[in-house]
Subunit: 137 residues, 2 copies
Amino acid sequence: MENIIKILQKYNIQPSYQRIKILEILDKKREHMNVNMIYDELSKEIPTISKATIYNTVNAFVEKGLVNCLTITPEEARYDFDITPHHHLLCKKCGKIIDVHVKCPYTESMEIDGHRIEEIRGYFKGICKECLSHETL
Amino acid sequence: MENIIKILQKYNIQPSYQRIKILEILDKKREHMNVNMIYDELSKEIPTISKATIYNTVNAFVEKGLVNCLTITPEEARYDFDITPHHHLLCKKCGKIIDVHVKCPYTESMEIDGHRIEEIRGYFKGICKECLSHETL
DNA sequence: TTATAAAATTATAATTATTCCAATTATGGA
DNA sequence: TCCATAATTGGAATAATTATAATTTTATAA
Ligand SMILES: [Mn+2]
Ligand SMILES: [Mn+2]
Ligand SMILES: [Zn+2]
Ligand SMILES: [Zn+2]
């Protein structure tokens, strides 16, 4: 809680009650939630919370560089509190989005073919470990 | 034209007039078009064409593995007739989506952390060569 | 503490991308 | 040609997201 407030302040975001709660959830559940998942979870604690607030808040978080927005699923945006460089696997079976920690030879900032690259996102699709284990049963 | 028909047949897609025209456009314009761009372009030739047809068609193309669907822009899907493995740069300035040909150590099929990887998409964000050159003027 | 201005939240409307569906039209083979 | 099937079409439905305007909360100064 105190910790979360410090993080918000560090990123120049006024730590309002709902902003704190939203960031807390993103921190606790590292499952790359979408707006509806955040909303369903938060509604339990704050029944009056509005989806507009969640949209506003995650947009602000992304804007300020506090969380990353993933577009691995075509339907809706996912949010990731872990902003250290890593990639993601979308499991075709269970739909979960799982961190993939592979060393990438391309660093965050570089030049390729004369273009200036500032951000890299690796999106993988396949079958996750857990689903594979069920398959063999 | 004949060529396009052969490709459709090879992928087990009945070569109807609109399907041929849609694939022709994706072949001619390699700019990773979205449905609206395809629609605007095609409307000139086929004023009666429906967006539903374009959605149906590109979905079928993706389903059959004839084109790739890119989710680099969060707003809408982009379609790429070039299915050879390559990555993409979204220019933050002009919005163009540009092919990035870098060697990736991760091949199409592999195992990572026990997960089975079947597809890899590298999405880069930055400033394209052309926009950089304008910047220095 | 109270007043007040600014900021945040909320409910709702609007927008946009996409899918669904039912009616119409085109197509390929008997 | 006739018919069954497939493809196309327009419009309605759905879903994600943004915009807007009213309300509530917060920060701060009198
Ligand atoms: Mn992650
Ligand atoms: Mn491409
Ligand atoms: Zn899985
Ligand atoms: Zn550019």
